[in-house]
């Protein structure tokens, strides 16, 4: 929609100015909460109570961050968020790795080694992406108890692998569906079997979808609260649950600056991933939204 077709240049200029103002206003709207969190995480508590949340700190202090990281009272001990940050990492890394690997294999089988009934299986896996997790909470708690994984990080890994499978399979299936079948035939003629076709032909070309899947899984699992709150105990609590405990604990003085520092800490890994590879993040969102 080129500008040159517009008759009046003056009005056009005005419109453009208005357009940019609106867009910048929205940028402010989206940035404001993050700005407020950051600014207030380096203020003293007195300054927060007495001052304006929008103003820059008069006294810059890094203390709230240190408290949030290593001193704040979350469980019984004043350990800060650091052990829970580690918990989250110990949970996320294996869960992302396993669910991505399984998703890649499933996508490979479902597109390149089709068999009767494969569509139904895919449909079952796809629907699993969308179930409200409330429907599995009770039996999951039972099963984790039975297999001795209740309240453990490995239990959470299992949960996240299972309920991430649908999406990882969907991502890889759609990606491999666009991968030419003739390449698979050529590999068969060349003598490559099931595994070698996968590792030598498909996997080397799967970089983008692996990145998309890993980012998607990483973001989802890191940000999960429900499973963490339901199945973790004090020793295996992930970051989000710990943060919520910190923020909503009713005992003592509310240390808002520490809360903000904690919130930013909890948001940091996914924000970093987003900033570094936003393009793939968006692709994952799109792939998750537009199915089939």
């Amino acid at each position: 929609m080129s500008r040159s077709t517009q008759p009046s240049f003056g009005i056009e200029k005005l419109l453009r100015a208005a357009l940019y103002s609106v867009l910048i206003l929205f940028a402010v709207y989206y940035l404001l909460p993050l700005f407020v969190m950051l600014v207030n995480s380096v203020k003293t508590l007195d300054e927060i109570r007495g001052g304006n949340m929008m103003s820059l700190p008069e006294v810059f202090t890094f203390e709230p961050w240190l408290v949030a990281w290593s001193k704040a009272q979350i469980g019984v001990e004043p350990t800060g968020l650091s052990p829970y940050f580690i918990n989250s990492i110990m949970m996320v890394v294996p869960a992302v790795t396993i669910s991505t690997a399984l998703g890649a294999l499933n996508g490979y089988v479902l597109t390149k080694w089709r068999f009767p009934g494969d569509k139904i299986i895919f449909g079952l896996m796809l629907f699993a992406c969308f179930i409200p997790f409330q429907i599995v909470l009770i039996p999951m708690a039972r099963v984790l108890g039975i297999i001795g994984m209740a309240g453990t990080t490995s239990g959470l890994v299992l949960v996240h692998v299972v309920y991430g499978l649908g999406f990882t399979t969907l991502f890889f299936r759609n990606y491999y569906a666009a991968f030419p079948d003739e390449l698979i035939k050529a590999a068969k003629m060349d003598g490559a079997g099931f595994w070698r076709t996968f590792t030598r032909i498909l996997l080397p070309s799967s970089g983008p979808i692996i990145v998309v899947t890993v980012i998607w899984q990483f973001t989802n699992i890191w940000n999960d609260f429900l499973f963490g709150a339901s199945f973790a105990d004090f020793d295996s609590m992930p970051m989000t649950v710990a943060l919520n405990n910190l923020v909503s604990s009713s005992t003592g003085v509310k240390e808002y600056n520490v809360h903000f520092a904690g919130a930013v800490l909890a948001a940091l890994p996914t924000l970093v991933v987003y900033v570094v590879s936003g393009r793939y993040f968006v692709r994952g969102l799109m792939a998750g939204a537009v199915k089939g």
């Binding site: 390449l183 035939k185 050529a186 590999a187 068969k188 003629m189 060349d190 003598g191 490559a192 030598r200």
Partner: protein, 369 residues
């Protein structure tokens, strides 16, 4: 004994029969072309030879050995695909070597073989490139290189030229033919392009609806089609198929506003006599109808009839002129000398080469001999 034997092969997907009782034999060093419209089963047949699809019933033998139960890699067959199917993550050299690597050939041996093949195909300078950096023609060569390097007992080509532009397609056609002549390997080649079929094949099988319509040499297919489908499908411009009525030893073709055109034969084929007074289809290729000055196309001693016909449209094509007239309610294409000077909407003397005329039953389409 034939080298490749396809023996009563049937293939069904569920209730859909894709191949019905196909039997074809190819001698060693032969070049079999499978040709037909899309959906005729030609690619499925190729895939069953390759082992990429299982056949439902029947047998395929190479050199007397049944290969039905062997996986593709153990059949000693190489295949060139329509999209070339070059592995995008490997460079040209790795692409060509992949099949050898899968068979466990040591790297130094592989390198020698790849070099040799690259030299033959003149793609040595491309060995380090990725497929994405190659032109269509170069990809085509690499795909052939990948097939050649394994020195297989049978080559399969699945419409390998259909993704190339017109000029390159002609060049590569020649190249494939030359390769076949020098190497002498047996080739099965699938195409929907009847010109490719005619120029390349030593044997052609015309398929439709999973049934072999005719199997023969290019000349047999062209001059002696066994039914209306083959007559219509092979040749460009297509054979004229004109409704006519049998009167004794002559056939009459209706014309609007004029007397019917009568082609008087010395002797009509035996089958045609039964159609006395009834309709048949007369098949005449465009080059069998020409202008009086171009009589050279009709060899001495061949029967010919000269008649005056109204020309509707004139289409100069460089080497020839195609003039269109109307017979039996059909447009009839004639092939005239490039110096012919007639014009549209005027009459012209046309010579019909009766030796090249064939007859079909109008209902069944079967050839009358």
């Amino acid at each position: 004994m034939s080298f490749l034997q396809i023996d009563k092969v049937c293939k069904s997907f569920g209730t859909i029969k894709v191949l019905r009782d196909i039997s074809l034999d190819v001698e060693e060093g032969g070049f079999l072309v499978l040709v037909g419209p899309s959906g005729c089963g030609k690619s499925t047949l190729l895939n069953t030879i390759a082992g990429l699809e299982k056949l439902t019933t029947g047998e395929i033998r190479i050199d007397g050995n049944v290969i039905d139960d062997l996986p593709p890699s153990e059949r000693n067959i190489a295949m060139v695909f329509q999209s070339y199917a070059l592995y995008p993550n490997m460079n040209v050299g790795q692409n060509i070597a992949f099949g050898l690597e899968m068979r466990g050939m040591p790297k130094d041996e592989r390198d020698v073989k790849v070099r040799d093949v690259a030299k033959t195909l003149q793609i040595e300078h491309l060995l380090d490139r990725k497929p994405g950096q190659l032109s269509g023609g170069q990809r085509q060569r690499v795909a052939m290189g990948r097939a050649l390097v394994r020195n297989p007992q049978l080559f399969l080509f699945d419409e390998p030229l259909s993704n190339l532009d017109a000029k390159l397609r002609v060049d590569m056609r020649t190249e494939i033919k030359r390769m076949h002549q020098t190497l002498g390997t047996t080739i099965v080649y699938v195409t929907h392009d009847q010109i490719e079929a005619m120029t390349l094949g030593t044997r052609i099988a015309v398929l439709k609806d999973g049934i072999v319509q005719q199997y023969g040499t290019p000349a047999e297919i062209y001059n002696d089609p066994s039914n209306l489908f083959v007559a219509d499908f092979m040749g460009s411009p297509a054979m004229n198929l004109i409704p006519a009525v049998v009167r004794g030893n002559a056939v009459e073709m209706a014309r609007t506003g004029e007397n019917p055109l009568v082609l008087d034969f010395k002797q009509l084929p035996g089958d045609v006599a039964a159609y006395e007074g009834r309709n048949i289809i007369v098949g005449i290729r465009p080059e069998a109808i020409t202008d009086a000055d171009n009589r050279a196309l009709v060899r001495d001693g061949q029967q010919a009839v000269t008649a005056s016909c109204l020309i509707d449209v004139v289409e100069p094509a460089g080497a020839d002129i195609f003039a269109i007239t109307s017979l039996g309610g059909k447009e009839v294409v004639t092939r005239l000398h490039q110096d012919w000077s007639g014009q549209a909407n005027q009459h012209a003397e046309l010579v019909f080469n009766l030796e090249k005329v064939v007859f079909f039953d109008p209902e069944s389409g079967i050839r009358l001999r």
